[in-house]
């Protein structure tokens, strides 16, 4: 978290807008535990992670939307998801990620 915060502060200082994504719920085998975090800026740069790389791309897209609209969002990722082929978790677990603008 400390490392994410120092990057976020640098981004804010240079005028970027930032969204924070947090794993708020997990089920089954998941690569990262509850509380795992990733920050995304308006340029699409990111720091931290919410999975083992499986859903980060999708989270970046969602986070840029959240930065635009200012509206927080809770997103599900998992094998049972309709988008499983695109952004599912290979390990078979499910996660919920809350994405909010800082």
């Amino acid at each position: 978290m400390q490392e994410i915060i120092s990057d976020v502060e640098q981004w804010r200082e240079r005028g970027d807008q930032v969204a924070l994504a947090t794993v708020t719920w997990t089920s089954g085998s998941t690569p990262r535990a509850i509380g795992a975090k990733m920050a995304v800026n308006s340029r699409g740069e990111f720091v931290g992670s919410v999975s083992g790389g499986c859903v980060e791309g999708a989270v970046i897209d969602e986070a840029r939307q959240v930065i635009k609209t200012g509206k927080p969002k809770l997103v599900n990722y998992g094998i049972s998801d309709d988008m499983a082929w695109d952004v599912g978790l290979a390990c078979g677990g499910s996660i919920r990620v809350f994405i909010e603008k800082l």
Partner: protein, 249 residues
């Protein structure tokens, strides 16, 4: 930055435990935050005093166990997250192995303190990543190191004139882990001497020595990895074997 981001940053910098409750679904206050501290004091609101009160009670329980969880309150879904301060690693002996050990510990988000009575061993040039360098004898340093249950201690001096006073001073503290470099024979001699000085068997048994998991490496870097791996295993109360040999939970 937003008020929330500012307060979060300030609290993280203070390195004291706190919790943040975030409304993540179910009502019009999604995105609202409530900060909760171990004594029950709090800042901000989830938008409803009755909901705040229920969340604060639950957050205090989660804080006590250093846990984070999403909980449902009628229609509202609230994520309560505990932010625990980073663990500390105190290394006695600014020897070669302490250098890679400091690197590993910093990557793992530990706060690292190096203590050595020999000033040329603890220079910022040798330990650019350490949080704190203390030139002091171990028994003088221990009383003011504020060793607690989130402190991990490793003794690398590997010399009875430093090891014995360090272990004796540490025997009155309660860190999460103590590891001491040295062979089985060294350990036997240390134990004998410390027992003679009145240190309890219970404490002596709790010291990990020879230090580290059995990874087989002999270089200082490999030994540092074995020590760091042991600290993580102790932190999560695991044995440190191969995952493929662990039975399904």
């Amino acid at each position: 930055m937003s008020d929330f981001a500012n307060r979060l940053t300030e609290n993280l910098r203070a390195e004291k435990i706190f919790a943040v409750a975030t409304c993540i679904g179910g009502n019009e206050n999604v995105g609202a935050h409530l900060f909760i501290y171990p004594d029950g004091s709090n800042e901000n609101t989830l938008g409803d005093a009755a909901l705040d009160a229920r969340v604060i009670a639950d957050a205090r329980e989660l804080l006590a166990n250093e846990r984070s969880e999403t909980r449902a309150y009628d229609d509202a879904q609230v994520f309560i997250e505990t932010y625990a301060p980073p663990p500390r690693l105190i290394i006695f002996g600014g020897v070669h192995t302490a250098i890679p050990l400091t690197h590993y510990a910093k990557i793992l988000d530990f706060r690292v303190t190096i203590v050595d009575g020999r000033s040329h061993f603890v220079t910022p040039k040798r330990f650019p990543h350490a949080d704190e360098l203390i030139v002091e004898w171990p028994d003088d340093a221990v009383p003011h190191l504020a060793i607690d249950a989130s402190t991990y201690v490793v003794i690398l001096t590997h010399d009875p004139k430093f090891d014995i006073p360090a272990l004796k001073a540490l025997s009155t503290t309660k860190p999460r882990y103590i590891g001491a470099m040295g062979s089985r024979e060294t350990r036997r001699q240390h134990m004998q001497e410390l027992r003679a000085q009145g240190v309890s068997d219970e404490f002596l048994q709790s010291v990990y020595g020879p230090v580290g998991l059995d990874l087989g490496g002999r270089s200082p870097e490999e030994m540092a990895l074995a020590i760091m791996a042991q600290i993580i295993a102790v932190r999560y109360r695991h044995d440190g074997g191969h995952l493929m040999h662990v039975a399904d939970e």
